[in-house]
């Protein structure tokens, strides 16, 4: 028993080391100067350049036009991630609500049509989507960044399954209590879906935060650059004998990691609370 436990811990420790060490290395390395990194390689020790690097990354106006700072990129990423998550949740909840609760003639068909779009990822339809956005004049705008990616088969599917598991009597009780379709949705379904909303928020926020291809295509104006693009931008600057700003790239990577981690931590507790509290 005791031996077993020791072994369990060993496995767990190894596993967490495996996942944590690269992050720690990235963070530690980011506190050294670029030249230091260039000559000594990656580092596990604390450097003395922490404040300078992060200050520079967050406030220096970089890029070709010199208009975009790290904090601006963080903000853009947040707008994208949150806009994404909220938009997807609202849209897919409403779609699932219509499919499950209204006696539409083609509800099942509509659901399967939505579902098959899972087979068509963004990359497949990226050209037509770009064309549409371009014709609508939405290039270089937050709307153009977010809207085309909002329709979510996954979200609709999850919410549909969830709504189907809500007992019919709740709807009937609400109807007798005089709640119309909108009131029922807001007063009963949305609060009941809290856990689902939290789960999907986590997934969708991270998905939106990590978007790379679509923002790169949609935005040429550097004011709309996201963190993901910023990291790449830094490493691209390799002019002549200049040393690439490894430290800044690492710092940005660490910064890019923080919000999703925070979101997961915050929503996970909500998620688990919801799971244990809900019994229907």
């Amino acid at each position: 028993m005791q031996k077993n436990r020791l072994f369990d811990h060993l496995v767990l420790i190894l596993g967490s080391l495996f996942l944590m060490v690269p992050v720690v290395v990235a963070f530690m390395t980011s506190t050294h100067t670029a030249a230091d990194i260039h000559s000594n390689g990656l580092s596990l020790a604390w450097g003395d350049n922490f404040i300078e690097t992060y200050e520079k990354v967050l406030t220096r106006e970089g890029g070709f036009t010199g208009q975009v700072t790290g904090s601006r990129m963080v903000m853009n990423s947040f707008i994208l991630g949150i806009g994404f998550a909220i938009g997807k949740i609202v849209l897919s909840m409403l779609a699932a609500y219509a499919i499950v609760y209204f006696r539409l003639r083609f509800a099942t068909l509509a659901f399967w049509v939505i579902f098959t779009t899972l087979l068509l990822p963004l990359e497949v339809r990226i050209m037509p989507s770009y064309q549409v956005m371009s014709n609508l004049g939405l290039l270089n705008s937050y709307m153009g960044l977010i809207v085309p990616l909002l329709a979510s088969a996954t979200g609709t599917f999850y919410f549909r399954q969830f709504f189907k598991s809500v007992p019919d009597e709740l709807l009937e009780a609400a109807r007798i209590d005089g709640a119309g379709p909108i009131k029922f949705f807001i007063d009963v379904l949305v609060p009941l879906s809290r856990t689902m909303i939290a789960a999907i928020f986590i997934i969708m926020f991270v998905y939106g935060w990590n978007q790379y291809l679509w923002p790169m295509l949609m935005t040429t104006d550097e004011r709309f650059f996201t963190l993901m693009r910023g990291i790449k931008q830094i490493l691209q600057v390799w002019i002549g004998s200049q040393i690439p700003d490894y430290n800044e790239a690492f710092a940005l990577a660490v910064l890019a990691m923080l919000p999703p981690v925070l979101i997961v931590v915050v929503f996970q507790s909500w998620f688990i609370k919801g799971l244990t509290e809900n019994d229907k």
């Binding site: 009937e172 609400a174 007798i176 005089g178 709640a179 509290e277």
Partner: protein, 370 residues
């Protein structure tokens, strides 16, 4: 407070499945009606049509003289109690109670007064700020009833409200529902598959089978004058024994036994005879009797249920503890206590016997020989 008229109501589901066949029920103001029948008999469908949760295919439902066929459930002035309580799990008890009133824009003071009154009546005041999940089954059912009475509707609809409770709680809640309904005087329709619940609660019973009404009547009428073999076998525990028999004039042949009916016989021919377990008694010496072969005994404490056969047909008899049990017994029955049904249709045959009213009166207890 209102009367409810169910007028030739039918329900046909998509696909032609007919769940309710042209049902007529007139329910008086303040009456407690129980719809009873086996599962799939259409009783819930009928209730849900009254509630407005199910569309009415044909016919008319009137609540308080107003045709409600096309009205939304909320506009019908009814309240419903569900089998699984259907409380909103994310709201506190108080919010659950208030919800219907809030949606009707009832003034705050009025809501508070009504919540307090309902909570006091149902003894749920201590739980008002809890969520339903923190309540026991019985408490949840009280809250569900609170949600119904707080609206002061014209009618209560109960859809098997006690089925999820354990047996002991069911008995006490049964009493409470009855008491509450008496006190409020609200017209009620109650659906159950439990004949005991039906008997104890109802002013009048409606026995349904396969979407059709088999019989409407007071519990005693239905018990003592079942209109068909279906009602006879469904109402009462133990179920009425039904045996195939032949009538020859005034003589009844059940298997090998012959009984003289003293003129209480319907027309001659093959019949199904029904006899309640408590109407049989051990026969005196020399009396005409049924030859009964004992199979097994169920002890109920106060008396015994004795299962056995007459000829090859099963029969149940209630015997006092004092009665001597033997493998072969002779049982007598007052001919007036026999029920005759047509062999084919199963419907009740009129006898020249007692008028129905007399049947319900307690007859002098059968004497027990030594």
């Amino acid at each position: 407070m209102a009367s409810i008229d169910i007028n030739r109501v039918s329900k046909t589901y998509a696909g032609g499945n007919r769940a309710v066949h042209s049902v007529d029920i007139t329910i008086g103001d303040g009456e407690f009606i129980v719809l009873v029948g086996p599962s799939g008999c259409g009783k819930s469908t009928l209730l849900r049509m009254v509630a407005g949760l199910e569309e009415i295919t044909e016919g008319e439902v009137k609540i308080g003289g107003r045709v409600v066929n096309t009205l939304e459930p909320a506009e019908r002035d009814i309240a419903m109690v569900f089998q699984n309580y259907a409380l909103y799990p994310h709201m506190t008890v108080r919010q659950n109670l208030e919800y219907g009133l809030k949606n009707r824009n009832t003034p705050r003071a009025e809501i508070d007064a009504r919540v307090a009154e309902a909570a006091r009546m149902l003894e749920i005041s201590p739980y008002l700020d809890r969520k339903p999940r923190a309540l026991s089954g019985g408490q949840r059912q009280r809250v569900a009833m609170g949600r119904a009475i707080i609206r002061k509707p014209a009618a209560f609809l109960f859809d098997e409200p006690l089925s999820n409770l354990d047996a002991k709680l069911r008995v006490s809640m049964r009493g409470e529902i009855r008491r509450l309904q008496r006190r409020l005087g609200t017209t009620s329709i109650y659906v159950t598959h439990d004949q005991l619940e039906a008997m104890t609660l109802a002013d009048r019973l409606v026995v349904l089978n396969d979407g059709r009404i088999e019989q409407i009547g007071s519990p005693l009428e239905v018990y003592h004058e079942p209109a068909s073999t279906f009602v006879a076998s469904f109402i009462g525990a133990p179920a009425m024994s039904l045996v195939q028999a032949e009538l020859h004039g005034d003589r009844l042949a059940i298997g090998p036994s012959l009984l003289n009916l003293d003129g209480y016989a319907p027309a001659s021919g093959p019949v199904t005879v029904g006899v309640r377990a408590e109407d049989l008694r051990p026969a005196h010496a020399g009396e005409e009797a049924l030859a009964f072969r004992l199979d097994y005994v169920e002890e109920l404490g106060a008396h015994r249920l004795v299962h056995g056969h007459v000829g090859d047909q099963a029969l149940v008899v209630t015997l006092p503890l004092a009665a001597v049990l033997q493998d072969e017994m002779r049982l007598a029955v007052d001919p007036r206590r026999l029920h005759f049904f047509a062999r084919e249709s199963g419907s009740r045959l009129a006898t020249a016997g007692l008028p129905p009213v007399l049947r319900q009166q307690a007859m002098e207890p059968a004497e027990m020989p030594g």
